[in-house]
């Protein structure tokens, strides 16, 4: 039986992309697989009795070394904000390339806590900050200092002690450009450095609570149970700033999606599946259904999705239990799931299927990066007719959208001057649409198509571009999409019905985030590394930690 990849017109719809779940391909999991053979240690520990000061963690293998410098500062409750406009944070982090000298730490101490207002150098690789979950932090410190373990119900309802609000890399604020590190073997997978930073920052959160509890009551205090710590991740609060990334990096998006689609295709193509494989799947399914109970959210949108997921999983379980291990068992399972469940459940099952086949899936994580510059140039020898046909074939979904209808051009994306982040607003009531970012892909490709159709079709693009440079940015995308068919979200990113949080979910699922908790349609809280091995036990990780039972 020949199984095809799922078609882009199915996969690249935003409601499906916004239903993706973490998987073996997720970057935080591939980070742990890649770095489990490295040494992780605490290199410097200079916190005062209240937990303020700095800690340095080192990750090394032979001569290769990375260091995370964590600064812990006092801030007033009124100054604590997850918004990008905040100027003070409980903690700030910088990942250093190598081992920092004393002078480096002094320089970074003056800059890293300032984040966007500070300045880092090409010696540094990533930058981040985090705020305490105040009620959890205080509860944990209080209990530990009294010699007791904290209330796990409270802890697991939240899922973390600190919440990061941004992780910057690749040349931002003076950080090293990606080009500096892109050829390093250990960094071949996507976002490895960012994942390293977040993993070490999680360790920092445990070290701080233990330290503060100890100094609050040196005789009585106990350390946080490792079983509890392991079931805590690190939070993240993400707003619209992340959404344009997946539009601005079409080639990279293709690599992420196609890795997943290849994995699914290979699994569906397995002709003979044994009982062991089925049992493994069932084990993970049972565990994760328990863990879903810890996915707390106030968002009606997400509550509905979670409710539907649980309902669909019930029907799925019945089908799965009663389906015999005939040839192409997983293909039968997948086809039933696609036909009988919502995208949220279908993508959940796809992620779960990947767990059973590490030998198939894990190598694909090395195919998830790409040299985007190789796809930047426009082949101007192509004819106008060829481009029209490409649009008709690849962008069929947008050709019938009426962009004269206000609803279809309702929003515009812009770069906020005061927040220094991409944002989205109502085009008809708010100012600034003249400075619109080039993220209205559907509208602009539609306009390009209409423009091309009015030209002589046998002429080449060089001829067209002599007098028409307005749509150069989307012409480039059409040619990228020809080579990389999963590079384009097949939805109108400026329509009134757009749910931007779906765009965030897409990216965050590839990061490996869990417990999606949208706080509105424009920002979301998530948890990373919940259940992951602690720093001292990373070498023992077998990559099944995502499916361990919480509590």
């Amino acid at each position: 039986m020949h199984i095809e990849l799922r078609k882009p017109e199915i996969v690249m719809k935003l409601d499906r992309l916004g239903s993706f779940h973490q998987s073996k391909l997720s970057f935080l999991r591939s980070f742990i697989r890649e770095f489990k053979s490295w040494d992780f240690k605490t290199k410097e520990f200079f916190l005062n009795d209240q937990g303020f000061g700095h800690i340095v963690y080192e990750v090394n293998k032979g001569q290769k070394k990375y260091s995370l410098i964590c600064f812990s500062n006092h801030i007033e409750n009124s100054e604590r904000s997850d918004r990008v406009i905040a100027t003070k944070w409980d903690a700030s982090f910088v990942l250093f390339d190598g081992v920092p000298a004393k002078a480096d730490i002094e320089r970074l101490k003056a800059n890293v806590p300032l984040q966007e207002q500070g300045r880092v150098s090409e010696k540094e690789l990533c930058l981040s900050r985090a705020n305490k979950s105040v009620r959890v932090f205080e509860h944990v410190v209080d209990k530990l200092s009294q010699g007791e373990q904290p209330d796990t119900k409270l802890l697991y309802d939240v899922g973390y002690l600190y919440r990061t609000t941004a992780v910057y890399g690749s040349g931002k604020f003076g950080l090293a450009d990606r080009i500096k590190v892109q050829d390093r073997e250990e960094l071949k997978g996507p976002f490895r450095l960012e994942m390293m930073l977040v993993y070490l920052a999680r360790q920092f959160t445990f070290d701080v609570v233990n330290h503060v509890a100890h100094f609050r009551s040196p005789e009585k205090a106990v350390r946080l149970s490792e079983d509890i710590a392991r079931n805590l991740g690190i939070g993240n609060s993400t707003g619209l700033g992340m959404a344009p990334f997946i539009v601005n990096h079409p080639a990279l998006l293709n690599q992420w999606i196609i890795a997943k689609e290849k994995a699914l295709k290979l699994i569906r193509s397995i002709s003979s599946v044994n009982q062991n494989d089925k049992n493994t799947f069932q084990l993970y399914l049972t565990t994760i259904q328990e863990n879903i109970k810890f996915w707390k959210t106030e968002s009606e949108y997400q509550k509905n999705k979670n409710r539907q997921l649980l309902k669909d999983l019930d029907s799925f379980q019945r089908f799965f239990s009663t389906t015999s291990l005939d040839k192409f068992f997983w293909n039968t399972i997948y086809k039933w799931t696609e036909a009988n469940t919502q995208a949220e459940c279908c993508e959940f099952i796809v992620s779960l299927m990947m767990e059973v086949y590490p030998d198939i899936v894990e190598p694909l994580s090395y195919e998830m990066s790409i040299n985007e510059d190789e796809y930047f140039d426009i082949d101007t020898s192509r004819t106008i007719d060829e481009i029209c046909k490409l649009i008709e074939n690849q962008y069929t979904w947008l050709l019938n959208i009426n962009f004269d209808n206000k609803e279809n051009v309702f929003n515009f994306w812009y770069y906020s001057k005061n927040k220094q982040e991409p944002r989205m607003s109502d085009r008809f009531t708010e100012e600034g649409s003249d400075l619109e970012l080039p993220l209205a892909i559907a509208r602009d490709i539609s306009a390009l198509y209409n423009d091309l159709k009015s030209c002589k079709l046998d002429k080449d693009l060089g001829y067209y571009l002599l007098k028409n440079q307005e749509y150069r940015h989307v012409l480039r995308r059409v040619l990228i999409c020809e080579q990389l068919p999963y590079s384009e979200i097949q939805d109108n990113t400026i329509s009134k019905t757009l749910i931007p949080v779906d765009m965030l979910r897409l990216k965050l699922s590839f990061f490996g985030a869990t417990r999606f908790d949208p706080r509105s349609d424009r920002w979301v809280r998530i948890t990373m590394y919940q259940g992951a091995p602690l720093m001292k036990e990373i070498s023992k990780s077998d990559d099944t930690w995502s499916y361990k039972k919480i509590a």
Binding site: E122, G174, S381, G462, L465, Q469, R472, H473
Partner: protein, 198 residues
């Protein structure tokens, strides 16, 4: 020092702010990034261009256009990037004057690679060649802010720029990696058929 990412995005946005389309702004950002990465003063040159006022500069839109004075280097570079696949322009062209010629280098370089072309640039105060190869040498101080009465010759022909004696020496040296063949080896080492008439 600013990262290349910062340089690229800053130039891209500045270009957009000065009225270039997003597509052209992306090209300008990449061009200046490449110059800075190569330690040419791309940003300084771009800044002077902005100071001149992009909108007031002449765009090269037709290889035969009569007015080629006060040319904009971004449009000049884009012209050759977009049009160089067309053999009609593979000849000598004369232009009146061009602002900030440094900024055309990344565009010509890409065009040379993509189309296997050589751009020979001649003027009284600036001469250089861009080839499809990866090795260039420029002294950035030779780049004036303004040039007049210049020409570019475009060709697919690579010039021989080394002496025969150099070639002979290197070729002889290369033979030292060959294995001396006996008569038997000439027969057995060939492996495939012993005649070319099968």
């Amino acid at each position: 020092m600013h990262s290349l990412y910062e340089i690229e995005t800053t130039v891209k946005r500045s270009s957009r702010a000065k009225g270039l389309s997003w597509g052209l702004s992306e090209e300008a950002g990449k061009a200046v990034r490449l110059l800075e990465q190569s330690e040419f003063q791309g940003l300084e040159s771009f800044k002077r261009l902005i100071d001149l006022g992009l909108s007031g500069l002449n765009k090269l839109l037709d290889i035969n256009q009569s007015d080629t004075s006060n040319l904009c280097p971004i449009h000049f570079g884009i012209f050759f990037l977009d049009q160089s696949h067309n053999e009609d322009i593979h000849r000598n062209h004369n232009f009146k004057n061009l602002n900030e010629p440094l900024l055309i280098l990344p565009f010509l370089s890409k065009s040379a690679k993509n189309n296997l072309l050589y751009f020979h640039f001649y003027s009284s105060n600036l001469n250089f060649t861009i080839s499809p190869g990866d090795i260039y040498f420029f002294d950035q101080n030779i780049f004036p802010e303004y040039i007049s009465d210049f020409s570019i010759s475009i060709t697919t022909q690579r010039k021989s720029i080394y002496s025969q004696s150099t070639w002979d020496y290197l070729y002889k040296l290369s033979l030292e990696t060959f294995v001396e063949e006996t008569e038997e080896k000439k027969i057995s080492g060939a492996g495939a058929g012993l005649t070319d008439n099968d």
